[in-house]
């Protein structure tokens, strides 16, 4: 029971909200749409659900063309950012509502509602009204209603975004367990790369209405196919600088040079964009190939467990993220080390040519 988008696109007036996109989401898979606000995540979800009609291409589900089939005739559940519950119904009735619409027998309704309430830890609240619940409980009620239906396609559009930091952490832990034994296709939209990594599954990176890459989350993270995908999948932003390769050496601006490792030596000589994640830049030499650089510090953010140092490096705004407390003064020059063995090299077209140490610690 897979979901397939075949060159699906959405044009609104003169704007392409979604460029022709082809994707296959397998049954039982957990798929993440990762991108910034307005990248097209919600539109893509609405096209997949039948809430919106594509202006081009087709939507297929379970081997059938469902393009233009309205959402009410599909077997779809949605959970939104703003937890939407019936204010006048008890939690029990909220969860039961889709089953009542489907005219399921009373006994079965009771059994299924209790089962899902138990899974979502709502059993003590079944008699209460949504207004008497905390934000997290309201969102869990909305999720329970979406799940009790046993839909083939479950769409979650940034469902944790309106919740407290700590609550987000807890629900993130619980979510994959809810879908573990089901055969439905799950599509989850988020703006946070860390969330995508935590859920694992498959990720589609979105940028300006296009899916730039789709695959196993870990693979996309370790080997983004282009600089755009690398950027979407980074928070804090990935550090980028121009480098020049001549023979077996790589030079990054003035005075910073290193020996090209295996895999890089065979690349053509010339200019590349070099990208390195903030946690591979540190105040201490670490990793397989640390190279010293100097940066002018804008500001250091200390969070108790780690330090995020924002600095200027050869005209680029770079970030170092490192465990421990490293309070550099604003305006000071910091001596930092880049573990270049972890670097990503992109060619003139911004396509990946080499991903550093992609296999180690994967």
């Amino acid at each position: 029971m897979s979901l397939e988008l075949k060159s699906v696109s959405k044009r609104v007036g003169a704007d392409m909200h979604i460029h022709p996109t082809s994707l296959v989401f397998e049954a039982g898979s957990f798929n993440i749409l990762l991108g910034t606000t307005l990248a097209g995540k919600t539109t893509l979800m609405q096209l997949a659900a039948g809430l919106e009609r594509p202006t081009g291409g087709e939507v297929w589900f379970d081997g059938r063309n469902v393009t233009g089939v309205p959402v009410q005739k599909r077997n779809v559940s949605m959970v939104y950012q703003q937890f939407i519950n019936y204010p006048n119904f008890s939690v029990f009735e909220n969860i039961a509502s889709p089953l009542r619409v489907a005219r399921v027998a009373e006994d079965e309704i009771k059994q299924r509602v209790h089962a899902i309430a138990d899974l979502l830890r709502l059993t003590p609240m079944l008699r209460r009204n949504p207004s008497e619940l905390s934000g997290g409980q309201q969102q869990r009620t909305a999720m329970a209603r979406a799940l009790v239906k046993d839909a083939d396609l479950v769409l979650l559009d940034e469902p944790l975004a309106n919740l407290d930091f700590k609550l987000r952490e807890e629900l993130r832990d619980e979510l994959p367990k809810l879908f573990a034994d089901r055969n439905c296709v799950v599509v989850y939209a988020t703006t946070e790369p860390a969330e995508a990594l935590m859920f694992a599954g498959h990720t589609a990176t979105l940028f300006e209405g296009r899916v730039t890459q789709f695959g196993r989350t870990e693979d996309i993270y370790r080997e983004p196919r282009d600089l755009v995908s690398a950027r979407v999948f980074s928070d804090p932003p990935i550090n980028v600088a121009r480098v020049v390769k001549s023979g077996s050496s790589i030079a990054m601006g003035q005075g910073v040079e290193w020996q090209a490792g295996d895999g890089i030596r065979s690349m053509a000589d010339g200019e590349y964009m070099f990208a390195i994640r903030p946690h591979h830049v540190a105040p201490k030499a670490a990793g397989s190939q640390p190279v010293a650089i100097a940066g002018k510090v804008h500001v250091t953010e200390l969070s108790g467990s780690e330090s995020v140092i924002h600095f200027d490096f050869q005209g680029n705004s770079w970030v170092s993220q490192t465990p421990g407390i490293h309070p550099f003064e604003v305006g000071s020059t910091a001596a930092l080390f880049v573990d270049v063995s972890r670097g990503l090299y992109f060619d003139g077209d911004r396509n990946l040519v080499h991903a550093g140490l992609a296999q180690v610690g994967a």
Partner: protein, 366 residues
């Protein structure tokens, strides 16, 4: 800029408060230095916005006083307290240009135009708004508008304190870090007293010199981000700060030796605990708290099975099981992780015994 004192403050939204639950803010006394950056951090409903509104004058406290630089301002309205506020949603005059928005608070007070111009340009430069000065505010994105809100507060030079109520809520997540570090930079340059309310620990810990952690209308701990991380006084602080939060496991103490299940654990304060000083018979009992950052795999120690590995990119969160308890630890990117059974070692300086939620003092109580 002002030194702020909150004296014997209590607040209830109910006309005749009776029980503890009727008080949104239970008794508090806080003193804040001039020019500091402070954060009020806690979950929804903890009382942080109530406290902020009392300081700003939007709310009159049921009891107690608010004092700015020795002057009792409790009866003064917000506009008489010389404060600037930045709310969750940007407060901007959409039809005016960015320049006119920033100039407004000064023009309103009859400041000479030449002075207005200098101030506006200085603040616009600090906030990277110079390029947009002539644009209508309505054309800016959410973060641009929030910067205008912030700018209007900074442009006046008679401000006692600048207050932020969850200011990054509507900002795009990938731009949040920019505005966050900009606020920190601004504080360092301008030296204004700033109070920042949030439920997001990253925002609170990166911004503030001192964080007030609140729960259920009470202050649980006040400290620097490092204090709160390395020396949580209450298990709530251990849980709420840190992602993931502190591991808390039931334990026993016998003749100064701390044990979880059958395992002996060395701790920073276990030797100081004695029955009778407090009593482990009361609900809550004794618990061992240790953060995931301070646990590592070792040849021997607490025997566990690895149940799950979650990748966060720069490190992995490894969930393990010890008897019927879950223990999480962090492993940096690239390090090996055992697949089934393993042993855990705890950093003894960071393992602490808590009684009824509160940390047992390392020196034996009198």
């Amino acid at each position: 800029m002002a030194k702020i004192i909150l004296d014997d403050l209590r607040h209830s939204y109910v006309a005749n408060p009776v029980s503890d639950a009727d008080w949104a803010l239970k008794q508090l006394d806080i003193a804040w230095d001039d020019g500091g950056a402070y954060a009020l951090l806690g979950p929804s409903g903890c009382g942080k916005t109530t406290l902020l509104n009392i300081i700003s004058g939007l709310l009159r406290p049921t009891r107690g006083r608010v004092i700015f630089d020795g002057k009792d301002v409790t009866d003064l309205a917000p506009d008489q307290r010389h404060i600037a506020q930045v709310f969750q949603f940007p407060v901007v005059y959409d039809t005016m240009t960015v320049y006119d928005n920033l100039a407004f608070p000064l023009r309103n007070r009859g400041v000479a135009e030449a002075v207005v111009d200098t101030r506006v340009r200085t603040i616009a430069d600090m906030l990277d708004l110079t390029a947009t000065l002539d644009r209508r505010a309505s054309g800016l994105t959410a973060d641009g508008k929030q910067k205008i809100s912030l700018g209007r507060g900074l442009v006046r030079e008679d401000v006692n304190v600048i207050m932020f109520d969850e200011p990054l809520t509507v900002i795009d997540p990938h731009l949040k870090w920019q505005l966050r570090s900009k606020l920190k930079e601004l504080h360092q340059r301008v030296g204004a007293t700033m109070i920042y309310v949030t439920h997001d620990q990253t925002e609170a810990l990166t911004f503030a010199d001192q964080v007030v952690v609140m729960k259920d209308g009470e202050v649980v701990q006040i400290g620097t981000p490092v204090d709160l991380f390395e020396r949580p006084q209450h298990v709530f602080v251990g849980h709420f700060i840190g992602s993931p939060g502190m591991n808390v496991l039931p334990c026993s103490v016998d003749n100064g030796q701390v044990r979880i299940g059958g395992c002996a654990i060395e701790t920073a304060n276990g030797a100081a605990w004695s029955a009778g000083a407090g009593s482990a018979d009361r609900p809550g009992g004794l618990e061992l708290g240790i953060r995931p950052e301070f646990i590592h795999f070792a040849e021997d120690g607490v025997p566990v099975t690895v149940t799950k590995v979650t990748d966060v990119g720069r490190f992995k969160i490894v969930s393990t099981r010890f008897e019927e308890h879950a223990i999480k630890l962090l492993v940096t990117d690239g390090q090996p992780i055992p697949t089934e059974s393993a042993h855990l070692a705890f950093d003894r300086n960071q393992a602490r015994v808590y009684e009824n939620g509160w940390v047992v003092p390392a020196e034996a109580a009198a």
